[in-house]
Symmetry: C2
Subunit: 356 residues, 2 copies
């Protein structure tokens, strides 16, 4: 059989706990659908800093490179927040994105029926919200030259935002392709009235749009997008934008759904290879207590099955299992209305695995 | 008497209509409180492009420079959107900020009782929201070098984000001072885990904070701030941040109050001089119809009275007059529940003027 190699990076905080449940779900699909997975584990983030003196050890990167997909838990925590740049978990995160060529971050933001009330938005505004933010992930101000210098007015800091036409083109094409499989609406977000990179971005989008006449395109300025997400979230389908704007808008979009604890994400490169992780963080405050919600990580597996392996049957089975368990009223503490009835990480994982 | 010189830039779209009502309110305070104003008008934005071939004519800038404060309506519109950079209204906006040294943009985001329902957020989440975004306005990626070049991978665009320690210090001190007059809580927003300018920003904030031990300080990453504004808007008091983040977050904050059509703003420099304008845009779709809401512009006058002239009595009188008129049930079309009962721009202006 075709055995897929999965690089597992459990990471920090609740990472190991939620990843364990996701692996259980993958193993269940081996039984049910006959797929085969081989798991290899590597250190990354804070734990790698502690044990290896670097957030992204060479052997972890090598492990990812020889794998078919990466499953990531979460990284970071207050323990490492005041470290110097080279010894911070997020430096590992930026490093792995660049080293693996993961130029595209796919962040679905949709509303779970059982969590509608968890949103701070009015339910009628949220109704029908189901969007995807496609964020450029290896360019822009994140990766441009950065330095300090002495200027006329004392010390100065400089960050450089650079985009070339190819970097823009590949992410924009991917967004158009995704829009085609959905409601065929694409919002391209930039700040073309101020930034040169945004003007190149917009020109490129307009040029590529001629290849996608079936997709309805709108250009939205980033400040306006931050507003429109609040005013008419359901009117968006696919949103494509550069790295920094995508960081801000994808978090805003996730939060407004009220489902942030349940959302998954994919980071993709040229081929089928991808890195999959929950949107939520490492939640150090509840780590090790067995109460974290594993659903976002389990759903990240479903995303992996769809986008990297084309295992649509198993992806659907996982998504259906999650829905079934939620519909039956089972909740972890973070999403429980009656906290006294909340179940733990393993119990939630078991229920979903059984429902697959 | 001490006559204050007011430079009036009505601008485009509904600008002239709303500015006319604000001037009426100022004239009423001459009668009631004995203040004196001298108004001079200048072209700016789209209309200046049409009539003078540039969005910021020399004589308009000179007029602003010899004035004590500037009252601005609104600029821009689809007519000029596809112009080259030098012939676009926003180029005038960036130019006037820089030329007048207006390094600080003050954007209050508070909730009007009568508009609580207009927000897409749940009323209980919004309850008590009353924050101010202090945005750095003449630095960062807006004003850094920007250019195109041929790179290895085709055409590249570059924007440069630069901050020196003085630029950061003056805006941060101002934000601390403002926080002191309010609930004494300051949130400084940056992306210190990625950007060098943000690291300098944060270091500077931490250093200056020692002069303000009475103000409670928190550092919030920009992506997290975009989320927290949605989750706990009422927990913010003063938010201070750099130019680009401030552009996005101030619009998000304004929109979530539901009161965006009523919000005013101030742009300040070193001294008392300031430029005052409504947050809303030029609304070309309703321009010339006499139906625009003049309240945000009238409230911008109140802000001018407080921040530039120290005319607290007149500022309060204007704010009280607005509240009285709204409490009596009068509404322009944009904020009317029953649109058939909506009144026009002049009628709203007259009611407020009479109530002063
Ligand atoms: C931790 C940080 C560097 C990272 C980013 O800004 O990309 C995070 O916010 C994210 O969105 O994955
Ligand atoms: C028109 C544009 C250049 C401007 C900005 O980004 O500063 C506007 O969005 C604002 O916030 O005043």
């Amino acid at each position: 059989a075709d055995v897929k190699k999965i690089a597992v990076i459990a990471g920090d905080g609740i990472g190991p706990e939620v990843v364990a449940e996701a692996i259980k779900a993958m193993k269940k699909t081996e039984e049910v659908f006959g797929y085969g997975f081989e798991f290899e584990h590597g250190l990354f983030g804070g734990i790698a800093i502690d044990e290896k003196g670097t957030p992204l050890p060479e052997d972890t990167l090598a492990m990812c490179k020889r794998s078919d997909a990466v499953l990531l838990g979460a990284v970071g925590g207050p323990k490492w927040d005041n470290n110097s740049k080279e010894l911070r978990p997020e430096t590992g995160l930026l490093g792995i994105r660049k080293a693996l060529g993961l130029f595209s971050n796919i962040r679905p933001a949709n509303v779970f029926d059982c969590l509608k009330e968890a949103s701070t938005l009015k339910p009628e505004v949220l109704e029908g919200t189901d969007l995807i933010v496609v964020r450029e992930l290896t360019g822009g101000i994140y990766f441009g030259e950065k330095f300090r210098r002495e200027g006329e007015n004392g010390q100065e800091a400089v960050d450089t935002c650079v985009y070339n036409v190819n970097e823009i083109e590949r992410i924009v094409r991917q967004a158009f392709e995704i829009a085609r499989t959905r409601s065929k609406r694409l919002a391209s977000v930039d700040k073309a009235n101020v930034l040169e990179t945004s003007r190149l971005w917009r020109e490129t989008v307009i040029r590529i749009a001629t290849d996608y006449p079936d997709v309805e395109l709108e250009h939205v300025l980033v400040d306006n997008c931050a507003m429109q997400l609040l005013r008419r979230p359901a009117s968006f389908d696919v949103i494509v934008t550069e790295n920094m704007f995508g960081d801000i808008l994808s978090d805003e979009a996730a939060m407004l759904t009220g489902s942030i604890g349940m959302l998954s994400s994919a980071s993709l490169g040229e081929g089928a290879f991808g890195l999959y992780e929950p949107v939520h963080g490492s939640a150090p405050d509840i780590a090790g207590q067995g109460i974290a919600n594993p659903i976002a990580t389990i759903l990240s597996v479903a995303l992996m099955f769809r986008l990297t392996f084309g295992y649509h049957d198993a992806a659907e089975a996982i998504e259906r299992a999650v829905k079934e368990v939620l519909d039956a009223g089972h909740r972890t503490g973070d999403i429980a209305v009656d906290k006294s009835k909340a179940i733990g990480t393993t119990a939630m994982g078991d229920l979903i695995v059984n429902a697959i």
